[in-house]
Symmetry: C2
Subunit: 117 residues, 2 copies
DNA sequence: TTATAATATGAATACCTATTCATATAATAA
DNA sequence: TTATTATATGAATAGGTATTCATATTATAA
Protein backbone atom coordinates (compact mmCIF):
# COMPACT_ATOMS: atom_id res chain seq x y z
CA UNK A 1 0.00 0.00 0.00
CA UNK A 2 1.06 3.52 -0.61
CA UNK A 3 2.43 5.88 1.98
CA UNK A 4 0.04 8.67 1.24
CA UNK A 5 -2.77 9.73 -1.07
CA UNK A 6 -0.35 11.70 -3.23
CA UNK A 7 2.05 8.91 -3.92
CA UNK A 8 2.34 9.55 -7.62
CA UNK A 9 2.75 13.32 -7.43
CA UNK A 10 5.27 13.05 -4.63
CA UNK A 11 7.29 10.44 -6.44
CA UNK A 12 7.36 12.66 -9.48
CA UNK A 13 8.47 15.61 -7.38
CA UNK A 14 11.25 13.49 -5.89
CA UNK A 15 12.25 12.41 -9.38
CA UNK A 16 12.55 16.03 -10.54
CA UNK A 17 14.45 16.75 -7.36
CA UNK A 18 17.02 14.05 -8.07
CA UNK A 19 17.40 15.38 -11.58
CA UNK A 20 18.30 18.87 -10.41
CA UNK A 21 20.06 17.83 -7.22
CA UNK A 22 22.87 19.96 -5.85
CA UNK A 23 26.07 18.28 -4.82
CA UNK A 24 26.84 18.29 -1.12
CA UNK A 25 29.61 20.75 -1.90
CA UNK A 26 27.31 23.21 -3.65
CA UNK A 27 24.83 22.89 -0.83
CA UNK A 28 27.60 23.73 1.61
CA UNK A 29 28.66 26.78 -0.40
CA UNK A 30 25.14 28.07 -0.46
CA UNK A 31 24.40 27.46 3.20
CA UNK A 32 27.71 28.92 4.20
CA UNK A 33 26.84 32.18 2.50
CA UNK A 34 23.52 32.31 4.30
CA UNK A 35 25.11 31.46 7.60
CA UNK A 36 27.53 34.34 7.18
CA UNK A 37 24.65 36.71 6.47
CA UNK A 38 22.64 35.34 9.38
CA UNK A 39 24.56 37.03 12.16
CA UNK A 40 23.44 40.56 13.08
CA UNK A 41 26.93 41.77 13.95
CA UNK A 42 28.28 40.67 10.61
CA UNK A 43 25.25 42.01 8.81
CA UNK A 44 25.77 45.42 10.37
CA UNK A 45 29.30 45.45 9.03
CA UNK A 46 28.09 44.41 5.60
CA UNK A 47 25.38 47.04 5.58
CA UNK A 48 27.91 49.67 6.59
CA UNK A 49 30.09 48.73 3.64
CA UNK A 50 27.20 49.15 1.20
CA UNK A 51 27.80 52.89 1.50
CA UNK A 52 31.43 52.61 0.51
CA UNK A 53 34.76 51.39 1.82
CA UNK A 54 35.60 52.04 5.46
CA UNK A 55 38.58 51.67 7.76
CA UNK A 56 38.17 49.54 10.87
CA UNK A 57 37.82 52.51 13.15
CA UNK A 58 34.87 53.82 11.18
CA UNK A 59 33.31 50.38 10.92
CA UNK A 60 33.43 50.12 14.68
CA UNK A 61 31.85 53.55 14.89
CA UNK A 62 29.14 52.52 12.46
CA UNK A 63 28.18 49.22 14.04
CA UNK A 64 28.95 49.82 17.70
CA UNK A 65 30.34 47.11 19.94
CA UNK A 66 33.99 46.63 20.71
CA UNK A 67 36.89 46.68 18.34
CA UNK A 68 38.03 43.15 18.93
CA UNK A 69 34.64 41.68 18.10
CA UNK A 70 34.50 43.69 14.88
CA UNK A 71 38.01 42.59 13.93
CA UNK A 72 37.12 38.95 14.49
CA UNK A 73 34.06 39.26 12.29
CA UNK A 74 36.01 41.11 9.60
CA UNK A 75 38.37 38.18 9.58
CA UNK A 76 35.50 35.76 9.07
CA UNK A 77 34.08 37.87 6.26
CA UNK A 78 37.46 38.14 4.62
CA UNK A 79 38.27 34.43 4.93
CA UNK A 80 35.00 33.75 3.18
CA UNK A 81 35.65 36.33 0.48
CA UNK A 82 32.72 38.55 1.24
CA UNK A 83 35.05 41.47 1.86
CA UNK A 84 38.60 42.36 1.00
CA UNK A 85 41.02 44.72 2.70
CA UNK A 86 44.02 46.83 1.88
CA UNK A 87 46.44 48.65 4.09
CA UNK A 88 46.47 52.41 3.76
CA UNK A 89 49.07 53.97 6.02
CA UNK A 90 48.23 53.00 9.55
CA UNK A 91 44.71 51.98 8.58
CA UNK A 92 43.18 48.91 7.03
CA UNK A 93 40.40 49.75 4.63
CA UNK A 94 37.64 47.21 3.97
CA UNK A 95 35.25 46.89 1.06
CA UNK A 96 33.13 44.25 -0.65
CA UNK A 97 35.03 41.53 -2.41
CA UNK A 98 32.76 41.80 -5.43
CA UNK A 99 29.35 43.09 -6.51
CA UNK A 100 27.78 39.81 -5.57
CA UNK A 101 27.29 40.59 -1.93
CA UNK A 102 25.59 43.93 -2.41
CA UNK A 103 23.15 42.35 -4.87
CA UNK A 104 22.12 39.78 -2.31
CA UNK A 105 21.75 42.45 0.34
CA UNK A 106 19.53 44.44 -1.98
CA UNK A 107 17.21 41.49 -2.37
CA UNK A 108 17.23 40.84 1.35
CA UNK A 109 16.18 44.41 2.00
CA UNK A 110 13.23 43.89 -0.32
CA UNK A 111 12.34 40.86 1.75
CA UNK A 112 12.23 42.92 4.91
CA UNK A 113 9.88 45.37 3.25
CA UNK A 114 7.57 42.56 2.11
CA UNK A 115 7.67 40.90 5.50
CA UNK A 116 6.42 44.06 7.17
CA UNK A 117 3.93 45.23 4.54
CA UNK B 1 43.89 64.96 14.01
CA UNK B 2 41.93 62.60 11.87
CA UNK B 3 41.66 58.89 12.34
CA UNK B 4 42.60 58.04 8.80
CA UNK B 5 43.46 59.54 5.45
CA UNK B 6 39.91 59.05 4.24
CA UNK B 7 38.24 60.88 7.04
CA UNK B 8 35.90 62.89 4.88
CA UNK B 9 34.80 60.07 2.58
CA UNK B 10 34.26 57.74 5.51
CA UNK B 11 32.26 60.31 7.43
CA UNK B 12 30.10 60.83 4.38
CA UNK B 13 29.58 57.10 4.02
CA UNK B 14 28.58 56.90 7.67
CA UNK B 15 26.19 59.79 7.16
CA UNK B 16 24.50 58.03 4.24
CA UNK B 17 24.42 54.90 6.37
CA UNK B 18 22.58 56.64 9.19
CA UNK B 19 20.12 58.02 6.68
CA UNK B 20 19.17 54.61 5.37
CA UNK B 21 19.63 52.73 8.63
CA UNK B 22 17.56 49.64 9.34
CA UNK B 23 15.85 49.35 12.68
CA UNK B 24 17.15 46.66 14.98
CA UNK B 25 13.90 44.84 14.35
CA UNK B 26 14.29 44.86 10.57
CA UNK B 27 17.87 43.75 10.95
CA UNK B 28 16.68 40.86 13.07
CA UNK B 29 14.04 39.86 10.52
CA UNK B 30 16.59 39.84 7.76
CA UNK B 31 19.25 37.93 9.68
CA UNK B 32 16.73 35.46 10.93
CA UNK B 33 15.78 34.57 7.38
CA UNK B 34 19.42 34.02 6.48
CA UNK B 35 20.04 31.99 9.60
CA UNK B 36 17.15 29.71 8.67
CA UNK B 37 18.59 29.22 5.20
CA UNK B 38 22.07 28.65 6.59
CA UNK B 39 21.55 25.14 7.87
CA UNK B 40 22.13 22.33 5.34
CA UNK B 41 19.43 20.08 6.79
CA UNK B 42 16.84 22.81 6.53
CA UNK B 43 18.06 23.82 3.11
CA UNK B 44 17.67 20.27 1.85
CA UNK B 45 14.06 20.34 2.98
CA UNK B 46 13.50 23.68 1.30
CA UNK B 47 15.10 22.50 -1.91
CA UNK B 48 12.93 19.40 -1.85
CA UNK B 49 9.82 21.55 -1.61
CA UNK B 50 10.82 23.59 -4.65
CA UNK B 51 9.61 20.66 -6.73
CA UNK B 52 6.18 20.68 -5.15
CA UNK B 53 4.40 19.85 -1.93
CA UNK B 54 5.45 16.72 -0.05
CA UNK B 55 4.30 14.72 2.95
CA UNK B 56 6.76 14.18 5.77
CA UNK B 57 7.53 10.64 4.75
CA UNK B 58 8.64 11.78 1.30
CA UNK B 59 10.57 14.69 2.70
CA UNK B 60 12.50 12.27 4.86
CA UNK B 61 13.08 10.11 1.82
CA UNK B 62 14.31 13.14 -0.13
CA UNK B 63 16.69 14.56 2.42
CA UNK B 64 17.81 11.46 4.30
CA UNK B 65 18.47 11.49 8.02
CA UNK B 66 15.99 10.46 10.64
CA UNK B 67 12.36 11.35 10.90
CA UNK B 68 12.57 13.15 14.19
CA UNK B 69 15.26 15.52 13.00
CA UNK B 70 13.23 16.36 9.91
CA UNK B 71 10.13 16.95 11.99
CA UNK B 72 11.99 19.30 14.29
CA UNK B 73 13.28 21.30 11.35
CA UNK B 74 9.85 21.38 9.73
CA UNK B 75 8.59 22.88 12.94
CA UNK B 76 11.24 25.59 12.84
CA UNK B 77 10.46 26.37 9.21
CA UNK B 78 6.75 26.49 9.96
CA UNK B 79 7.11 28.67 13.05
CA UNK B 80 9.06 31.09 10.90
CA UNK B 81 6.52 30.99 8.10
CA UNK B 82 8.80 29.63 5.47
CA UNK B 83 6.53 26.64 5.01
CA UNK B 84 2.95 25.77 5.80
CA UNK B 85 1.29 22.40 6.33
CA UNK B 86 -2.09 20.81 6.02
CA UNK B 87 -3.36 17.47 7.18
CA UNK B 88 -4.42 15.08 4.47
CA UNK B 89 -5.74 11.84 5.91
CA UNK B 90 -2.97 10.35 7.96
CA UNK B 91 -0.36 12.51 6.32
CA UNK B 92 0.79 16.07 6.83
CA UNK B 93 1.64 17.77 3.58
CA UNK B 94 4.15 20.62 3.54
CA UNK B 95 4.67 23.38 1.02
CA UNK B 96 6.13 26.87 0.82
CA UNK B 97 4.30 29.50 2.77
CA UNK B 98 4.53 31.90 -0.16
CA UNK B 99 6.45 32.55 -3.38
CA UNK B 100 9.01 34.55 -1.50
CA UNK B 101 11.12 31.63 -0.40
CA UNK B 102 11.49 30.06 -3.81
CA UNK B 103 12.59 33.41 -5.26
CA UNK B 104 15.37 33.67 -2.72
CA UNK B 105 16.43 30.11 -3.37
CA UNK B 106 16.57 30.83 -7.08
CA UNK B 107 18.97 33.68 -6.48
CA UNK B 108 21.05 31.59 -4.12
CA UNK B 109 21.40 28.91 -6.76
CA UNK B 110 22.74 31.56 -9.14
CA UNK B 111 25.26 32.45 -6.47
CA UNK B 112 26.52 28.89 -6.33
CA UNK B 113 27.00 28.87 -10.07
CA UNK B 114 28.95 32.16 -9.96
CA UNK B 115 31.03 30.98 -7.03
CA UNK B 116 32.19 27.95 -8.98
CA UNK B 117 32.59 29.52 -12.41
C1' DT C 1 -11.78 -1.51 20.20
C1' DT C 2 -7.16 -2.68 19.15
C1' DA C 3 -3.24 -2.34 16.22
C1' DT C 4 -0.52 0.09 13.20
C1' DA C 5 1.19 3.85 10.49
C1' DA C 6 2.50 8.81 10.20
C1' DT C 7 4.02 12.65 12.49
C1' DA C 8 5.22 15.53 16.51
C1' DT C 9 7.38 16.56 20.81
C1' DG C 10 10.37 16.80 25.14
C1' DA C 11 14.63 16.22 27.22
C1' DA C 12 19.48 15.44 26.97
C1' DT C 13 23.65 15.98 24.66
C1' DA C 14 27.27 17.65 21.98
C1' DC C 15 28.97 20.83 18.90
C1' DC C 16 29.64 25.31 17.20
C1' DT C 17 30.51 30.12 17.44
C1' DA C 18 30.13 35.05 18.98
C1' DT C 19 32.09 37.78 22.47
C1' DT C 20 35.42 39.32 25.76
C1' DC C 21 39.90 40.15 27.73
C1' DA C 22 44.49 40.49 27.30
C1' DT C 23 48.11 40.98 24.34
C1' DA C 24 50.62 41.16 19.95
C1' DT C 25 51.82 43.39 15.60
C1' DA C 26 52.54 47.11 12.47
C1' DA C 27 52.88 51.87 11.16
C1' DT C 28 53.74 56.47 12.28
C1' DA C 29 54.98 60.43 15.15
C1' DA C 30 57.97 62.58 18.44
C1' DT D 1 64.52 54.85 19.59
C1' DT D 2 60.41 55.27 22.18
C1' DA D 3 55.57 56.22 22.43
C1' DT D 4 51.25 56.02 20.46
C1' DT D 5 47.69 54.75 17.35
C1' DA D 6 45.25 51.26 14.55
C1' DT D 7 44.29 46.69 13.95
C1' DA D 8 44.75 41.66 14.67
C1' DT D 9 44.94 37.50 17.30
C1' DG D 10 44.73 33.69 20.92
C1' DA D 11 42.45 31.63 24.58
C1' DA D 12 38.53 31.17 27.50
C1' DT D 13 33.73 31.36 28.14
C1' DA D 14 28.93 31.36 27.52
C1' DG D 15 24.91 30.94 24.83
C1' DG D 16 22.60 28.86 21.14
C1' DT D 17 21.02 24.94 18.40
C1' DA D 18 20.95 20.58 15.60
C1' DT D 19 20.56 15.84 16.54
C1' DT D 20 19.15 11.73 18.89
C1' DC D 21 16.29 8.75 21.69
C1' DA D 22 12.22 7.76 23.67
C1' DT D 23 7.58 8.59 23.73
C1' DA D 24 3.19 10.93 22.68
C1' DT D 25 -0.45 12.03 19.43
C1' DT D 26 -3.50 11.46 15.60
C1' DA D 27 -5.72 8.99 12.01
C1' DT D 28 -6.95 4.91 9.74
C1' DA D 29 -7.41 -0.13 9.14
C1' DA D 30 -8.68 -4.56 10.92
Amino acid sequence: MDICDHEREHEEALKRLRATALSEEDLAIMCNLFKLLGDPSRMKIILALTEGELCVYHIVEAVGGNQSAVSHQLRVLKDNRLVKSRRDGKNIVYSFYDEHVSRIIGIALEHVVCEKG
